[in-house]
């Protein structure tokens, strides 16, 4: 098998008394596209946010590039986060900058790339997501689908090793979902390692190498799309899939 990208060992996350993630140990391999599905409240988003330590795990390890992200100093964490792009449900574009400035910010301020080089990369990426014509507009004037594609381009500008998607289409109007999924599909085809929390079952089935079914703070089942969608093993997965499919 290909080399390991992210290893999660006995990950736990509590909010006060409440246990959100109970005990998760899984591995993301290089080049793999993984979709995490499951009922709401299962801890899918929390799990994803633990991978780049936006949430600090209560216990357990997240190993990326040989380092446990839960036990390194902030400077090292910042450096490793550069290599983990993240796309949010609410896009989170910076409203004080226009589209191209959003894409250029991190390469210039974190990596110290020159303005000219960053502009070149940004235009290339915006072309890739089909938005080079709106490079000078501000986020508030864009549709949700356009904003999310800019957010993807912004994450890609750091040339990440892996991309984390946290319900990227959940906040979109139905007619915008397609354009974002297409962009993600292209990205998957290009060989990018991806971890996607999603409710788009059709898309998950089509694009994923592996499906993780999460419920009640555990990863209950792991398998290929066919295994999970056509022959779920656990009662919990059967029940969930009967409702959504």
């Amino acid at each position: 098998m290909a080399n390991k990208m992210i290893e999660v060992e006995h990950l736990k996350k509590n909010y006060g008394e409440k246990e959100i993630l109970k005990d998760i140990s899984e591995t993301v391999d290089k080049g793999q596209v993984i979709s995490i599905i499951g009922p709401s409240g299962a801890g899918k988003s929390t799990f994803l946010r633990c991978l780049n330590v936006l949430e600090t795990p209560t216990a357990g390890k997240v190993i990326f590039e040989g380092k446990d992200l839960t036990h390194i100093d902030e400077k090292e964490l910042d450096e490793l986060r550069e290599k983990m792009g993240m796309v949010f449900q609410n896009f989170n574009l910076f409203p004080n900058m226009n589209v191209i400035e959003n894409v250029k910010l991190a390469p210039m301020k974190v990596k110290g790339v020159s303005d000219a080089q960053a502009t070149k990369t940004a235009i290339h990426l915006l072309k890739k997501v089909g938005l080079e014509q709106i490079a000078n507009q501000y986020p508030t004037s864009l549709s949700g689908g356009q904003q999310q594609r800019v957010a993807i381009a912004r994450a890609l500008a750091m040339d990440p090793e892996v991309m984390l998607f946290d319900e990227p289409t959940s906040a979109l109007d139905p007619e915008m979902v397609g354009e974002v999924l297409k962009t993600m599909h292209d990205l998957a085809d290009s060989g990018m390692t991806m971890v996607i929390v999603t409710h788009e079952m059709g898309f998950a089935r089509e694009v994923s190498d592996q499906i993780w079914f999460m419920a009640d703070g555990y990863v209950k089942e792991v398998g290929t799309p066919e295994e999970i969608f056509d022959h779920p093993q656990t009662e919990r997965a059967k029940e969930f899939l009967s409702k959504v499919l």
Binding site: D78, E82, M84, F88, N90, F94, P95, N96, L105, V110
Partner: protein, 499 residues
């Protein structure tokens, strides 16, 4: 939970405040002792000789003894006491520098080394002698006068006639204490400046003022609505002497030598009084407001300078405090909380006096202007911090998460993503803060900074007019704040169009 938080809060507050209080309880008193001791080793005389200048403090609102006048656009301090100051400086072979401040600040200024001596028609009372040393008496006033409105000239002529009335005098003056002792049926009203007293008299707040003869007559001669009447107060006036820091025998000796010469040559009657009278006549001649435009101009200039620098301090300090308060480090957090609460919980006037006399005491040579800017900037910082904090808190969490997920460090996230957006959100609140600051800058007139309010008071003293200069000052302040509002609105609109 809530209760625990409160207890913790009080505990930390006490822990932080106690050492501060401790320092000022023990250290400032000790420092004061030490300073007077070092001063006592003759350093003031040396200091005067070394710097080549004699710094004299006065409250220049007491014609003909000390008052201001404009010559070629420059404010000059003139009068009997200033003539004497010139002769002392001449005998010491140094240059004379006059610092003008309110009468009740003079002795503090002397004790804290802001001035070398005070020449301000001051009587050497037993109380004052406890904290400062005095020269020989150089001038003995003939007695106290009532200054009353012309329409009351027949009504208020004696102590008895002022029964149940308000009688004004300069706070901290001999006359003030005389009223308290000898006029138990009248209410004494103290103000720091004579021009404000005259204003109180003319507006009917006070029925009479008690002033020293020469001053009362000066106002009578220069304001046709006022009359000076010899009072039946028993004067406790021991005469006027020059105040100096304690333990300066050589300085006192030198000053006394000059006083001896002045008395021998009868300079007060022959030279000083005529000179003062002449200045007062010229002052009277140009008492249209237009002749004083340069006072107001200078005041506006200083007000703008104070505002600009205080705003800068306020923004930098405010941003820093806001970040400290939001910081995860509990020490930084609590320092910021204590600072903000303390500044917001104490009067700005007290803060200004504290910075000038308290902190200025530890750092010598701090000018009143600098002290004023620092005091207002420190105050503004606390309010700006709270504005910025609320601006930061109002931003969605996703903004900083998105930035951090891209690898931006905490500080870069603040710098490029959070602060620019927060500033935009709080721009109206910040604008209000800066307009308040323009107005609050008038408070630094108490420590003698030549900003608009201070210059207005100078115009009041020079013109013997109370209300008109205040009205002009009000209009100027309004023009300043109104222009600032328009400017801020303009920027607000521009920021809005930028998405």
């Amino acid at each position: 939970m809530q209760k625990y938080k409160l207890t913790k809060f009080i505990l930390i507050l006490t822990l932080l405040v106690t050492p501060i209080l401790g320092i000022f309880n023990s250290k400032s008193v000790h420092a004061a002792d030490e300073k007077t001791k070092t001063v006592a080793t003759g350093s003031i005389m040396k200091k005067i000789k070394k710097s080549g200048q004699l710094v004299v403090g006065t409250s220049a609102d007491y014609p003909p003894l000390e008052f201001t006048k404009t010559r070629n656009g420059k404010t000059q301090y003139v009068g009997v006491d200033m003539e004497l100051a010139k002769d002392i400086a001449k005998d010491l072979h140094v240059k004379l520098v006059v610092k003008n401040m309110s009468f009740d600040s003079l002795l503090v200024a002397l004790e804290t080394g802001k001035v070398d001596m005070v020449i301000s028609a001051m009587s050497p009372t037993a109380e004052r002698k406890q904290s400062v040393a005095f020269s020989k008496i150089y001038y003995r006033a003939k007695g106290d006068y009532f200054l009353v409105n012309k329409k009351d000239a027949k009504k208020y002529t004696t102590i008895a006639s002022l029964k149940g009335k308000n009688v004004g005098a300069q706070t901290g003056s001999i006359q003030y204490n005389e009223i308290k002792k000898q006029m138990p049926d009248s209410t004494v009203k103290g103000l720091g400046k004579v021009n404000n007293l005259v204003l109180a008299l003319q507006s009917g707040k006070d029925s009479a003022l008690v002033l020293e003869e020469l001053t009362a007559k000066a106002y009578q001669n220069n304001n046709k609505n006022l009359v000076a009447i010899k009072s039946n107060l028993k004067t406790s006036q021991t005469g006027n002497a020059i105040a100096m820091a304690k333990g300066q025998p050589d300085l006192v000796k030198a000053v006394n030598k000059t006083i001896d010469r002045v008395q021998k040559e009868d300079l007060i009657n022959k030279k000083y009084l005529p000179a003062a009278a002449k200045e007062m006549q010229t002052a009277n001649k140009q008492s249209t407001m237009l002749a004083y435009w340069n006072y107001f101009l200078k005041g506006v200039w200083y007000t703008i300078v104070i505002t600009i620098f205080s705003v800068l301090i306020g923004i930098i300090l405010g941003t820093l405090l806001a970040l400290m308060r939001l910081s995860k480090n509990p020490i930084l957090h609590w320092i910021a909380v204590c600072y903000i609460e303390f500044i917001r919980g104490t009067p700005q006037m007290v803060q200004i006096l504290f910075v000038y006399f308290g902190i200025g005491y530890l750092i010598s040579n701090m000018s009143a202007l600098l002290a004023g800017i620092i005091a207002i900037g420190l105050n503004s910082g606390a309010y700006v911090a709270e504005d910025i904090r609320s601006g930061i808190n109002s931003l969605p969490k996703g903004q900083s998460e998105a930035a951090r997920s891209l690898g931006l460090s905490r500080s870069k996230t603040y710098r490029y993503v959070i602060i620019p957006q927060a500033i935009k959100n709080i721009w109206p609140a910040l604008g209000n803060e800066f307009i308040t600051l323009v107005k609050d800058s008038s408070l630094v007139s108490v420590i003698g900074v030549g900003e608009l309010m201070y210059e207005t008071q100078l115009v009041q003293t020079s013109t013997y007019k109370g209300v008109l200069p205040l009205f002009i000052a009000m209009i100027i302040y309004f023009i300043l704040t109104f222009s600032l509002t328009r400017l801020l609105n303009h920027f607000e609109k521009r920021m809005k169009t930028n998405g």
